[in-house]
């Protein structure tokens, strides 16, 4: 850099003010205002029409005892579609987590099945449970995907399992991975253990608000194993070096226009499944739970939001508290449970919400802390159906 410094040359006039002209780019993708307007109109039409058209074309058979298959638990568009299919206002939706869905039982062993049996109908009670759901996510499910439920009767399950520990309540500071994170409130109230990046949170909000994006989720869930089409083409098979079974497949041929159904005889569920056995046989003993007080419980706050949304929509809600496996609670841990249980009931009553807290089932009818076995569901349905509050709610 030893050159003598010359006097500054003038900045070229073209560059001195405003924007100098530079080549646009190296492609012809340069739309003018009119072309953008046309393109955006086409895109708007397609995004509005496609989910509606798809609903007409895609085969989706539900029938009695239908529940959203385990593998499609995150297909919220399908959930909304299912509710749209159940147009009869006399039908009652059972809303809740895997207790309503029936974690250990087959579709004909669920609460809705036995309630229908009690009522002598085939499908008056609809299984609206989702596997892995919890109150904070239920809030999103009801808010965005259950609009069809307006002015209908809803049986809402309240599971104290979600208040058994700060971790279950999602109120710990340590980051946790959990199901249905796209349904939970993304920003407010703050869920301390949910540490997703802002982009992920905003994506969830957008997906929940725009039918088209939820529909894309449906296509990915149902035909591409919960992956994007691009990821699906590179899905890893078994062995080393790994094989990629989908690389030469045509992605379009995957779309069969038929919603996949649950396996007829799910080896993981039902009386013949090894999982279908009393909790005490699974090696679990009495447990001490770190109960979260209602005042500080995020899940309880979520549950209250669900109730609020449903009531604002004119739903006639009946809350079923439990059935929690009280046999599993250590002796010295029962008092706080009882306090929580009674607190929930009294708050519901204060708000004029009919509620039932059935007596605990016999110990051998529980598979774990909250999920009954088939016989448990049968007994629970019988108890509920015989309950005066239930009958009053049913007939009003």
């Amino acid at each position: 850099m030893s050159a003598p410094a010359p006097a500054p040359t003038a900045i070229p006039p073209a560059a001195s003010v405003g924007s100098p002209e530079v080549p646009f780019g190296v492609n012809e993708m340069r739309l003018n205002g009119r072309q953008w307007l046309i393109a955006l109109s086409i895109i708007a039409c397609l995004t509005w029409l496609t989910p509606r058209f798809w609903e007409k074309c895609e085969e989706f058979s539900t029938g009695p005892d239908y529940r959203i298959p385990y593998d499609l638990s995150k297909d919220y568009w399908l959930y909304a579609r299912r509710l749209r299919q159940e147009r009869d206002p006399a039908k009652i939706l059972l809303l809740g987590d895997s207790v309503v869905w029936g974690e250990y039982v087959l579709p004909d062993g669920t609460l809705s099945h036995f309630l229908n049996q009690q009522a002598g109908t085939a499908d008056r009670f609809i299984n609206g449970g989702l596997n892995g759901l919890f109150p904070l996510a239920e809030e999103g499910l009801v808010n965005y995907y259950s609009r069809e439920l307006r002015h209908r009767k809803v049986l809402l399950e309240c599971n104290v399992l979600w208040m058994t520990s700060p971790k279950a309540d999602l109120s710990t500071d340590k980051e946790e991975q959990f199901n249905h994170s796209r349904l939970i409130p993304q920003f407010f109230p703050k869920i301390p253990c949910y540490k997703a990046a802002a982009n992920e949170r905003l994506s969830a909000i957008i997906e929940n608000h725009f039918d088209f994006f939820a529909w894309i989720g449906h296509v990915q869930n149902d035909y591409f194993g919960q992956r994007s089409i691009l990821n699906w083409t590179l899905e890893e098979g078994e062995g080393y070096p790994p094989r990629y079974p989908n690389v030469y497949k045509n992605p379009i041929s995957q779309i069969t226009c038929r919603v996949p159904s649950a396996p007829v005889d799910d080896p993981q569920r039902g009386p013949r499944s090894p999982r279908h056995r009393p909790w005490s046989e699974a090696g679990q003993g009495p447990t001490r739970f770190d109960w979260v007080p209602l005042e500080s419980s995020l899940q309880w706050r979520g549950f209250q939001s669900v109730l609020k949304i449903l009531r604002e929509r004119g739903n006639d809600v009946l809350v079923v508290l439990g059935p929690f496996n009280e046999h599993m609670i250590a002796e010295d841990n029962r008092a706080p449970y009882r306090q929580l249980h009674d607190g929930i009931l009294s708050r519901l009553r204060q708000n004029g919400i009919p509620s039932i807290a059935p007596e605990p089932l016999p110990s051998e009818l529980y598979a774990d802390a909250s999920h009954p076995l088939t016989k448990g569901y049968e007994l629970l349905a019988r108890k509920l159906y015989a309950d005066e509050t239930f009958q009053r709610w049913l007939t009003r």
Binding site: V22, E28, M29
Partner: protein
């Protein structure tokens, strides 16, 4: 904040309307500066201080340079020391100020906390050099300080660990019982030792201004905010294009004219960039990552396909980023330079570098190759200059021997093919497609070194390409299809059938296709490759 994320969309939805709302006030420029700093601070607010530091120092250095006489007067070193009188009060102030500051900093270096000593020592020396600059009224010293400062930032944050590791290995090999400590131990106040995103870009941009001013190519910018916005203008802050003061600074002189075309062009560029990044680069990266992460597990065909896929991945990734950057700038009414011009259609290596990362190539040409002598000397000197330029360009890309080899290979390639590319035989007789294929193959070969995790991995890949068995590469047909489609589009664009692409129906159709494809197929995605440089 990445361009293809929702937070950026929200950021843009706030920045653009406020920017236009402020058009009749003097606040539009501060708003742009604040937005740019916020954009950078989103990544790491502490490291924003580096951008500010580099900006403030270069602004002041150029101001001081402007106060120095342009004619270089021969002065005796000792005579000047014994006669510290100043014709210019600013220089006097600078001398006294920097001398005082240097004493304080050096005192801190000697008597302050142990962790601060090395950093304070270096800073003190730099400030002492500033005092010398003021004392001797030397433009050259100010330029030297700017060079040292910017390059020191770059070296410390980008290369220090690499240098320390290599020095330690060498010392161990020589059985010297000394081990240099990791640079992270020099970080003051317990700051994390990270590579600041875009450091190579903003330091080069700031540096180009000082060098251009020294050589009289630009006027001194007197408005600090305008200069700060030039250095940190958010669309190109993280990964370029590296703008020149001559081109970008005057654009901040007044509020840009509001035209519908700016919006439509900006949106067009942004959409193309988004498509390149999300639909193409990210998709290719899935395949490339798998193969390059465990090269031993794959046969020759897979390694070849992954290398070609990486060639396209890096092109789509970086040119996609540039398109988005240019699109965002265009939305605001500013023009950024073209950075990519269908490089894989180049018919020679020199032409390739005229089409690939144009802003960096021209930077190295103007600030390294030409100052080294360019092609003004003998032939061997030209070759030497070319090789050194490419070698430094390789180092610029990253602190790893793989990048050094990559740069050296390109340097050698240009050296070996320079005369051939100028020959009549090559220009007239060799079919265009053959030339393009030759360049593409060579560039792909060099990408092996660029992409491999380590030099041993790169050598393993090269060896396996020639020795391992051929097997089914298992590359998705969809991937082949979309890349072929883009390649075909580029070929068409450079052919006499280009007008076909300009038809309104085609443009609208392609835009609709890209949006729907992005919605249906993309799966989000990671950061841009060039953010690491």
């Amino acid at each position: 904040m990445l361009f293809h994320t929702w937070p950026f969309l929200i950021f843009l939805l706030i920045v653009v309307p406020v920017f236009f709302a402020l058009r009749n006030t003097r606040l539009w420029l501060p708003w742009l500066t604040i937005a740019s700093y916020f954009f950078y601070g989103w990544w790491n607010p502490y490291y924003l201080s580096l951008v500010v530091y580099s900006t403030v120092l270069d602004f002041c250095l150029v101001a001081l340079m402007d106060h120095c006489p342009r004619t270089t007067e021969k002065l005796s070193f000792w005579a000047r020391l014994s006669r510290p009188r100043f014709a210019d009060p600013v220089l006097k102030l600078a001398f006294l100020g920097s001398l005082g500051l240097a004493v304080c900093i050096l005192a801190l270096a000697f008597f302050g906390p142990r962790t601060l000593r090395p950093a304070m020592g270096l800073l003190g020396a730099l400030v002492l050099l500033m005092a010398a600059g003021a004392l001797y009224s030397s433009r050259r010293i100010w330029l030297l300080i700017s060079l040292i400062n910017n390059l020191a930032l770059l070296v410390f944050f980008k290369y220090a660990r690499f240098l320390v590791e290599n020095v330690n290995s060498l010392l161990a090999w020589l059985h010297v019982p000394f081990k240099a400590s990791d640079p992270s131990s020099l970080m003051p106040f317990g700051f994390q030792y990270l590579l600041p995103v875009g450091i190579s870009f903003f330091t080069f941009q700031s540096l180009s201004y000082t060098i251009d001013f020294y050589f009289g190519k630009v006027y001194r910018e007197r408005n600090f905010l305008r200069f700060a916005t030039f250095v940190c203008f958010f669309p190109q802050l993280m990964a370029g294009p590296i703008e020149r003061a001559r081109h970008l600074l005057p654009q901040f002189n007044q509020f840009p004219p509001i035209r519908l075309q700016n919006f439509t062009d900006g949106a067009s560029l942004f959409l193309v960039g988004l498509f390149k990044k999300l639909a193409l680069a990210n998709y290719l990266s899935f395949y490339v990552e798998r193969v390059y992460d465990s090269p031993r597990a794959y046969g020759a065909s897979s390694l070849i396909v992954a290398t070609v896929a990486f060639a396209w991945q890096i092109f789509f990734d970086f040119s996609g980023y540039t398109d988005m950057a240019r699109g965002v700038a265009k939305l605001l009414g500013f023009n950024l330079i073209l950075n990519f011009n269908n490089p894989y259609l180049a018919t020679g290596l020199s032409e390739f570098w005229g089409r690939w990362h144009i802003s960096l190539s021209s930077w190295f040409r103007d600030y390294v190759y030409i100052p080294l002598g360019g092609n003004r000397g003998r032939l061997w000197q030209t070759y030497r200059n070319l090789f050194i330029t490419f070698f430094i360009s390789g180092i610029w890309h990253g602190a790893n021997w793989t990048f050094v080899i990559w740069g050296a290979l390109h340097g050698l390639g240009v050296l070996l093919t320079r005369e051939l590319e100028r020959s009549t035989f090559y220009v007239e007789r060799v079919p265009r497609l053959v030339k393009q294929a030759g360049v593409f193959l060579f560039v792909c070969f060099t990408w092996i070194f660029f992409r491999a995790e380590s030099l041993s991995d790169a050598l393993l890949i090269v060896r396996r390409i020639f020795t391992a068995a051929w097997s089914d590469p298992q590359v998705p047909l969809l991937m082949v299809g979309v890349v072929a489609l883009v390649w075909f589009y580029q070929m068409l664009y450079e052919s006499r059938f280009r007008e076909l692409l300009a038809a309104g129906v085609v443009r609208v159709g392609v835009a609709v296709f890209m949006v729907l494809y992005l919605c249906l197929c993309s799966s989000g995605g990671g950061a841009f490759i060039y953010f690491q440089f």
